[in-house]
Amino acid sequence: MEFLQQLINGLALGSIYALIALGYTMVYGVLRFINFAHSDVLMLGAFSAYYLAPAVARVLPLPSIGGALVVGLLACLICAGLGVLIERLAYRPLRSRPKLTVLITAIGVSLFIEYTGQHRAVFGADTKRFPELMPGTEFHLGSLIVGSNDLVVLVTTLLLLAGLWFIVHRTKVGTAMRAVSHNQQAAALMGVDINRIIAFTFALGSALAAVAGILYALKAPGIDPLMGVQPGLRAFIAAVLGGIGNLPGAALGGLVIGLLETFAGGISGLSNYRDGIAFAILILILLFRPAGLLGKVTVEKV
């Protein structure tokens, strides 16, 4: 029974990592660089919802599913805008520079957002209570307990994964994204508006981050400007584990890390080594499959 409960816990945690990893892997797929500010956009998503909730509550009842959707949608729009802004101000001027320059800039942007957010005039450093957006309950299957929020996370992740896959593989803008990913110059010569496509990629990735941020905050309703750091790191590793640039890989990687962490963390006396055990297994996997779990299965990487 304990095993099954841990399986549920692990899947619930893993699907959040999976959702965050989708954002990392998508931007990497198009631009070939890790957007380290992704985890901070996640935080901005949670804070957007935190400040939006009282305003929305005046029109729609909260907690309710409709209210949660409206708050989520608005937070997605805000984060999409911020994502585009970050790309425009910090990454676009460096597009022709070596990838390392952009990578270091991304770390700079990440730290900038984290520490600006901690300033008293912005969010402040203290932890804030995240409002209850959705009515939450627990389902009992014998002695097993499944939280409704966990189911929401799992379903959202699957839906978004399917939606992203559809956008990338079945739409015109997705074709353009894949073209930019293969060769920017050639794509530009074929009439693809590179700036627009990259901006779109960032908007999409940041909206994903907003969803992840809100779901993460519903799970652990204390939010602070550094809340993105830990899940961001895990999700980044999940993206690498799954084969960076590969969408289903990111989702799979997230689930694997969530499960590893949960099973390692549930051992009395060994939970101290939770991350150690999880990441040692991860290193082993990468030794045997350097391109990640699904890295070689698909030829096209987006």
């Binding site: 816990n9 300033h119 450093a125 932890t127 804030k128 963390g265 939970s271």
Partner: protein, 381 residues
């Protein structure tokens, strides 16, 4: 602006003349510089902000009453961002750049432990308001604290668990990132086993984690009568929420790291009925506490002072008392006076310094009821 500039210039000129007249005695006439390092940003920011507000209030009150030995206090505050590595930097800065006569800080033991060797090496007295790990004052004879230590707090909670809660099996859930949590867990376990209890599960987490269900599921499987969580409030609140979701419905209890208004703000209904030990209770009706609570509320927009604020306040008053008895701020004399404190009456109770320069004083136990901290009992040392 012009006016102020001129006054400043004038003041500066007078200062220069005064310094010239008194020769090298510049340190004996002007303000007494006190350094403070606190976690004003970062993970334990509410602790740092509380202790800083208490500290600042005490300095303001002393200055309003004419200062110490006729000299005003001047507080220089540095933020260590709740980060490992920062305390040593900022304390070095306070000592070598500002030339402070004493250093106040920190709440978290891990960070006090970083700063203590720096203060000891420079022979600048350091007073920690709220670091309860015993190792802090072992750094040297210039390091003091105005709070009790974890062996005492751990024993108090062990007796509480076995006598008041009548628990036979307790699970311990420790934050392995924090010296405070590890120390308190150790002393609790020793005390509880001595009192005839059994530790049925020992699980660990990393401060800042947001998912505790793995460990809580294992704890639930061990069927404890109560769970001891010697962690900090942000983690504890989320631990209790997730425990409630897993229907782990036994009492949770912890130490002074729980005390923050944020605990119930974040934890909400999941915190109901749980217990923790701390340094003082704002609703304990002694005249000294009532006066302090009123002054603090007036100064900080109605905010109720928590234990960290009260200890920050006491750390300044304790230092002021030492400076008065030493008759000045000369380091070895001040150290001597502080170490010889026999009876100091603070907001957090009566205290004496023992040979280890730890405060010997009582602890209080609070219960969370109706979203408020309710005073339950005082446990004397």
């Amino acid at each position: 602006m012009h006016m102020r500039g001129r006054i400043l210039l004038l003041g500066g000129a007078i200062g220069l003349v005064a310094a010239a007249l008194s020769g090298c005695g510049g340190t004996d006439s002007g303000a007494i510089l006190i350094g403070e390092f606190a976690s004003l940003t970062g993970k334990e920011a509410t602790f740092g902000i509380s202790s800083h507000q208490g500290t600042a209030l005490a300095v303001e009150e002393i200055n309003a009453a004419g200062g110490i030995l006729g000299r005003p206090l001047e507080l220089r505050t540095e933020d260590d961002q709740s980060k490992a590595g920062e305390p040593a930097n900022v304390v070095n800065k306070l000592i070598s750049r500002d030339g402070v006569v004493a250093v106040l800080g920190e709440v978290a033991s891990s960070r006090s432990l970083e700063a203590a060797p720096v203060c000891q090496a420079n022979k600048v007295p350091m007073i920690s308001p709220a670091s309860t790990n015993p190792k802090v004052t072992e750094s040297g004879d210039y390091i003091f604290r105005v709070c009790f230590i974890d062996p005492f707090q751990g024993t108090v909670m062990a007796n509480f668990a076995s006598k008041t809660l009548r628990a036979r099996k307790v699970a311990v859930f420790t934050d392995v990132k924090s010296d405070y949590s590890k120390g308190l867990a150790k002393f609790f376990k020793e005390g509880f086993v001595k009192a005839g209890g059994q530790i049925c599960a020992e699980l660990d987490f990393n401060g800042g984690d947001k998912d505790f269900k793995a460990q809580l599921t294992a704890i639930k499987a061990a069927a404890p009568d109560a769970v001891f969580v010697p962690g900090y409030y942000t983690d504890v609140a989320i631990i209790c929420i997730q425990a409630k979701q897993l229907q782990l419905s036994v009492p949770f209890f912890g130490g002074d790291g729980w005390e923050s208004e944020k605990l119930v703000e974040i934890g909400g209904a999941a915190m109901e009925g749980h217990y923790f030990s701390t340094h003082y209770a704002a609703d304990n009706p002694t005249p000294r506490i009532t006066a302090f609570v009123e002054a603090y509320k007036k100064r900080y927009a109605g905010k109720t002072p928590d234990a960290m604020a009260a200890l920050g306040y006491d750390s300044v008053m304790f230092l002021a008392d030492g400076i008065k008895r030493a008759g000045g701020t000369e380091a070895s004399g001040l150290r001597q006076a502080l170490a010889e404190t026999k009876e100091f009456e603070g907001v957090t109770g009566k205290m004496a310094m023992n040979s280890q320069r730890d405060a010997v004083k009582a602890a209080v136990i609070l219960q969370i009821k109706g979203g408020k901290f309710r005073y339950m009992a005082t446990v004397a040392p």
